[in-house]
């Protein structure tokens, strides 16, 4: 996968979006962003990203719903999704059912904050796996 791959960041926190943009641009990835679930789905259709970094707790459509919707859609199911959330595994799933991330059909899960190199490694791996899939 070329480093110019397009990555869609869906997160309602502009500071997180900015932080991820800075990290991803270090490797020359093109980054587009969306700040809520609705905008996120629109951007998936409009921008055809090569990878999606998705937060879970979003206005206008939670990340878990978006994740399931995209993975259940034949046109978008192959886009790798990296779920990046601040409350992932340690949260009380009874109170925050949207954070039961292991049951989501995402391709990778990581906790916020993420080390820049860790993010870049995960992105690289997911894009490479996705490209392998394309070849098959």
């Amino acid at each position: 996968m070329s480093p110019e791959a397009k990555i869609l960041v869906i997160d309602d926190d502009p500071d997180v979006v900015e932080a991820l943009k800075i990290i991803l641009k270090m490797e020359s990835y093109r980054v587009v962003s969306a700040f809520d679930g609705e905008e996120g789905l629109e951007k998936v259709k409009k921008e055809s990203p090569d990878l999606i970094i998705l937060d879970l707790l979003l206005p206008k459509g939670d990340g878990d719903v978006i994740c399931r919707e995209l993975k259940g859609h034949p046109r978008y199911a192959d886009i790798p999704i990296l779920v990046l959330t601040a409350v992932a595994e340690k949260v009380n799933a009874k109170l925050f059912p949207e954070h039961k991330i292991r049951s989501l059909p995402a391709d990778d899960y990581a906790d916020k904050p993420i080390q820049p190199q860790d993010l870049l490694d995960r992105v690289k791996k997911l894009l490479a796996r996705s490209r392998e899939g394309d070849k098959i």
Partner: protein, 381 residues
């Protein structure tokens, strides 16, 4: 000690069977006597109250039928009575039953009663309704979970930004911009912590206010509006502030700031994007200053309008349920009250239920207006 002169026998003589029954009926715990086939032989008043059934519908029936509507006994794992029947020893357990759509949490203690020849004849079940206690524990767990959740989000972002500043090669402008964001986000985190600290002070009965005469706009509102501005911008919202700039109020400015921050955080969080938040003031000529925060949002149903100010109650997702409770307690300390009423919005104006005509209401956006009062003649300290 002779058999007929023992204390138990003496008590029986004093009280007699009738008084004994009265005592059992007066107890706050439910008591039921069962035979080994789970038939109810006798039940006290509290048991009938918990089961919401008259005596004639209880005696002679099976206990599992009365408690759960089942036609067969519960499992031994779930039932203290079955364990007592098997082991002939005391046992305890938790029973959760549904009454009137509400769950009741009942702690159950069961004791064997031996008949002639030492054979187990009856089981006495003593039931304590600890629903309130169980619910408090559940709510406390919920508060801890939400507190951690609300703190982890800003902390994770601050850490993320700081990691970038520390590890990556950035231009001086970018570095400064990120450091500004770290400052702002940590300020927000501090406000969240402050809310929890005030909450714990309230709970401990240690919260005292220090009222002083202040210029309300300069010493309270300007600070609040400045702090909340970036969050309104994120949602394309703006403040319309209709509070006289020369208004003087005797209050504890720091705590009134907390009241506004809690009301505005909710207004921004639940308000419709791209709309206005109205901050108003009214002097009705009585003993109070009237302040209001109105926002275009899904109207709070009538039945929730009081309950939302209660401790731990949140009708929305992502809320700790303490923001309005803290606001209410701080307002009480200022001799005032808080309530919410429906309101309507038209062309940059906010109208109340009684001032908006029915025809206009149908065309207008709807919302919620939080009104709070502060006593005018608070004693300065």
């Amino acid at each position: 000690m002779g058999q007929n002169n023992g204390p138990a026998n003496k008590l029986e003589q004093i009280l007699g069977e009738r008084f004994g029954m009265e005592i059992l009926n007066a107890m706050g715990m439910a008591i039921v006597v069962l035979d080994p086939n789970f038939n109810i032989i006798w039940a006290n008043r509290e048991y009938r109250k918990i089961q919401e059934k008259p005596e004639e519908n209880i005696v002679g029936k099976k206990c599992y039928e009365i408690s759960f509507g089942h036609n067969k006994p519960c499992t031994e794992e779930a039932c203290a009575v079955i364990r007592t029947l098997r082991t002939k020893k005391n046992s305890k357990g938790l029973k959760v039953i549904k009454r009137g759509g509400e769950e009741k949490y009942l702690d159950v203690y069961s004791f064997p009663l031996a008949g002639p020849g030492g054979k187990l004849s009856y089981v006495v079940e003593v039931i304590e309704d600890n629903t309130q206690l169980y619910k408090l524990v559940e709510l406390s767990d919920r508060l801890t979970a939400f507190a951690s959740h609300e703190l982890k989000t800003p902390l994770a972002t601050i850490h993320q930004l700081a990691t970038i500043v520390r590890q990556m090669d950035l231009s001086p402008e970018k570095r400064k911009a990120l450091l500004d964001r770290i400052t702002s986000r940590s300020q927000h985190g501090l406000k969240t912590v402050e809310n929890f600290l005030i909450y714990s002070k309230i709970k401990a009965g240690e919260l005292e206010i220090t009222p002083r005469k202040v210029n309300f706009y300069r010493d309270v509102l300007e600070r609040v509006l400045d702090f909340q501005k970036e969050y309104t911008l994120k949602k394309g919202m703006r403040f319309i502030c209709d509070v006289p700039k020369d208004l003087e109020v005797i209050c504890d400015a720091d705590y009134v700031e907390v009241i506004y921050n809690n009301l505005l955080t909710n207004a921004i969080r639940y308000g419709e994007e791209g709309t206005e938040i109205f901050i108003g003031y009214n002097d009705k000529g009585d003993r109070y200053h009237y302040f209001s925060v109105a926002t275009v949002s899904e109207p709070i149903p009538k039945e929730d309008r009081e309950v939302i100010f209660k401790r731990y109650v949140t009708t929305r997702k992502n809320g700790s349920g303490i923001g309005l409770d803290v606001a209410r307690e701080l307002i009480r300390k200022h001799g005032g009250k808080i309530w919410v009423e429906p309101c309507y919005f038209l062309a940059g104006k906010c109208l109340w239920e009684d001032t908006a005509g029915q025809e206009d209401k149908d065309k207008m956006k709807r919302g919620n207006n939080f009104v709070f009062t502060i006593l005018k003649k608070l004693k300065e300290t």
